[in-house]
Assembly symmetry: C2
Homo-oligomer: 187 residues x 2
């Protein structure tokens, strides 16, 4: 596995460190050690820490949303069930070892005020996520307001699971989502 392409090795190491400890708490030297790189090669692939941070966030955004979409389309069934499956997927995520909340919320809180690209990636990530839920909600025949409600539940579950270290927030959010969805579909 250590023969993977260098960019991937660097990003793997950076992601684990940045996500697990916060971005500012991790120095480039720690990334170098964890990736088994030399400084020269590290800076050849990412000319500055900002570039590495941006690449970390962009890659994680893509992988996160792809994983969610794969899980949801994998369960199949009507759009209503797929929407609820989003919260099952969140529950799996929360239970992963090292789960520490949303990387984009964390990086936004830490660097959003001083590093515009971090704020932009975080905003983009959240817009894509709520857009994904909006698509499923529309397919289920529920009004757009319901999509906003489900987005809030999901975001709240992520935050709550992170701070409390307790994955049950996903089940709570799923139950609330089911109530809201069935109420919306009954009208």
């Amino acid at each position: 596995m250590e023969h993977e392409d260098p960019r991937t090795r660097i990003l793997d190491a950076a992601e684990e460190l940045f996500y697990g400890q916060g971005i500012q708490a991790v120095g480039m030297d720690a990334v170098r050690t964890a990736s088994g790189m030399t400084m020269r090669r590290l800076y050849q692939h990412f000319p500055s820490k900002n570039d590495l941070v941006e690449a970390y966030l962009l890659r994680r955004d893509g992988r996160w949303r792809n994983s969610l979409a794969a899980h949801v389309s994998g369960v199949g069934g009507p759009p209503r069930d797929q929407l609820l499956a989003v919260f099952d997927w969140l529950g799996l995520w929360f239970a992963e070892p090292g789960f520490r909340g949303c990387a984009f919320v964390n990086s936004f809180g830490e660097l959003g005020a001083t590093t515009p690209v971090v704020a932009a990636v975080a905003r983009h990530h959240k817009e894509e996520f709520s857009g994904f839920l909006a698509g499923l909600t529309e397919a289920a025949g529920a009004p757009p307001a319901t999509a906003a409600h489900l987005t809030l539940l999901a975001e709240g579950a992520i935050t709550t699971a992170a701070v409390h270290g307790d994955p049950t927030a996903a089940a709570d959010a799923k139950e609330a989502a089911r109530l809201l969805l069935d109420t919306a579909l009954a009208s």
Copy 2:
């Protein structure tokens, strides 16, 4: 106003800087300048930056929850209305200039993994908040699960409002809360 007690002046300056820019992005020298203190006096009141960070979070926690409780009890009415008033208060908060999300979520993401006291204060803040909602929910005659649902909505609204810079998340959350609450009370 510059004759206030030094502790308050320091905490006021620290809060504005820490909340607005992130904790690690603010040096002690910036706190010293903003508070109009000398280094010696700054360290006399807070022997280390960690102490200042902890005091900042604790003071903000108390003020935040007192303000919420005052607003909610000020509107009066039945518990159901007070519960919904929580989301009005959130909307007012979101619209304040410089709003940048929950200080505790932000500090948790930035320092929670490396500074246990930060994680503990964030967890305490969230527990107190959900406990507050649980009390109102019980008074309204709704089951405990509803309190968890409303907590998730509020947390999600805070995150969404912060990342999007859009206070309308409070109104969305309030509508969802009303639906969930009325569903729970109808049974």
